[in-house]
């Protein structure tokens, strides 16, 4: 860390001064780094958000399926027993229990008010089923229920989420891939900018070699400059990206399903990794370009 700081601070020293200042490419490199960092913030937000989404949906998957039994009041008890019998012999079920009248009342409350006489209504009986991690064979269970308890309907409302979880996980992969591509594109662009700077400063390099400067000194003069530009540009872009994400319209729990792009809690620290990473990329790209170029000058 101290070495890195000394390296960056030294811009006013000899190595920094030997390369003439270049206004245009400097601004271009800065801008490129900023744009890439801005994009990286969104790719990162996408990865983290889809990660959270996939986790949330996976969790929901493990929750209940429901079996609804509609039967005349006098047959209800027998049918419930029959369903419980079927469930007890179905693989992939962690637990199951019929809902109590009180719970039914709580569920219906929002629609019919608190004074609903649940007992006197011909309500269907609900049985909450919790699946194991492996899950149940829904089609098989449906067929068995149809054969043994015609009034029972399996509603595995969590099923539709499974492809969505897969999609979310795929999105997370794409987000991470985007990060890698952004890093690669930035390395490429900084290499091009560095190569242009090196070519434009052929005389500087020849003079330095003539007076006995080592490759490391010459490379440092260029590398430091591009590392600083990469760092500063990425810091600007990251800042702008984080502000843009913070200013996204807030959404409630349901809306977050689609627009939950953003960071949560400690996730806000992740984008802060981008500027140092950009500096490392710039350092590596410029150093490689400089040493490659120096090989051609004795």
């Amino acid at each position: 860390m101290r070495v890195a700081l000394a390296f960056l601070r030294g811009d006013l020293s000899a190595a920094g001064r030997v390369v003439p200042p270049t206004g245009f490419t400097a601004r271009l490199t800065l801008l490129t780094a900023a744009a890439m960092a801005f994009l990286a913030v969104f790719a990162l937000a996408l990865s983290l958000a889809t990660g959270r989404l996939a986790d949330r949906w996976s969790e929901a998957l493990a929750r209940s399926a429901t079996i609804r039994i509609s039967a005349p009041a006098e047959q209800m008890q027998a049918q419930v027993q029959a369903v419980l019998g079927v469930l007890s012999t179905t693989p992939g079920i962690a637990s199951y229990r019929p809902l109590e009248p009180e719970e039914m009342k709580a569920l219906l409350g929002p629609w019919f008010g608190p004074d609903l006489p649940v007992d006197s209504l011909p309500l269907p009986q609900l049985i909450e089923v919790t699946e194991t991690a492996k899950g149940i064979d829904a089609e098989g269970l449906r067929l068995r229920l149809a054969a043994e308890v015609p009034g029972a309907v399996l509603d595995d409302h969590t099923r539709w989420r499974r492809p969505l979880v897969a999609a979310a996980e795929r999105l997370r992969m794409l987000g991470l891939l985007s990060l890698v591509l952004i890093g690669g594109a930035m390395a490429g662009m900084i290499t091009l900018a560095a190569q242009a700077a090196l070519a434009a400063n052929g005389q500087v390099i020849r003079v330095l070699r003539l007076v006995g400067a080592r490759d490391a000194f010459i490379a440092k003069a260029f590398v430091r400059r591009f590392t600083l530009r990469g760092l500063a540009g990425a810091a600007l872009g990251t800042g702008a990206g984080m502000i843009a994400i913070a200013l996204l319209p807030a959404t409630d729990e349901a809306g977050a399903f689609l627009t939950g792009l953003g960071f949560a809690g400690a996730g806000w620290l992740w984008p802060l990794v981008i500027p140092p990473l950009a500096a490392v990329v710039a350092y590596g790209a410029t150093r490689a370009a400089a040493l490659r170029m120096l090989k051609g000058i004795r």
Partner: protein, 223 residues
Amino acid sequence: MIELQNVAMSYGGSELLSEMTLKLVPGSFHFLTGPSGAGKTTFLKLCYAELLPSAGQLSLFGSDVRGLGRDEIAGLRQRIGVVHQDCQFLDHLSVAENVALPLNATGRNVNEGELRELLSWVGLRAQAEALPPQLSGGERQRAALARAVMMSPDVILADEPTGNLDWEMSLRLLSLLIELNKMGKTVVIATHDLNLIRTAKKEVAARVLRIANRHLQLAGADL
């Protein structure tokens, strides 16, 4: 300190210089002469390892040039001052900074007093803060000489240092080089200015090397 044993140099298959055998001893003063394109610059480039010989043995300060790494070459050039005919500078730095460049580029501290003294010696005290493109031809040559001797090198190689200068300025530069030689530096000057050589011979025991027909010969006292 610079020793050639049957050294040959060829470009693209055809030999420009061949069978050169020579030993430059410390404190010697040599002129290198010959027609244009004979290979004077190539010879000097061999002497500071800008070029590698295509055949033969060339050793600089006791080590074979072929075995030198890039950093060793850099170290070597700190002991060899080079003045080109068209000297190049870092055009965005002042004359004083350019003269001090060999120290800065090798991580050494610049003694401001010594730097001023050196600039006075080459007569550039007033131009210390000027930029190289603002200098005249003679001033550029003298700035290049000051830069070449900044590190107090053992050898000074000058390639047509007076090529662009009038006679008066040439003499001034020559006297600086003679002064350096009297301080014990080995000096090699490539030139085809015979008047310059004659003038120098009056003041210093200069020997003349001539490149003719691809060979390096020690010229007699016929000048």
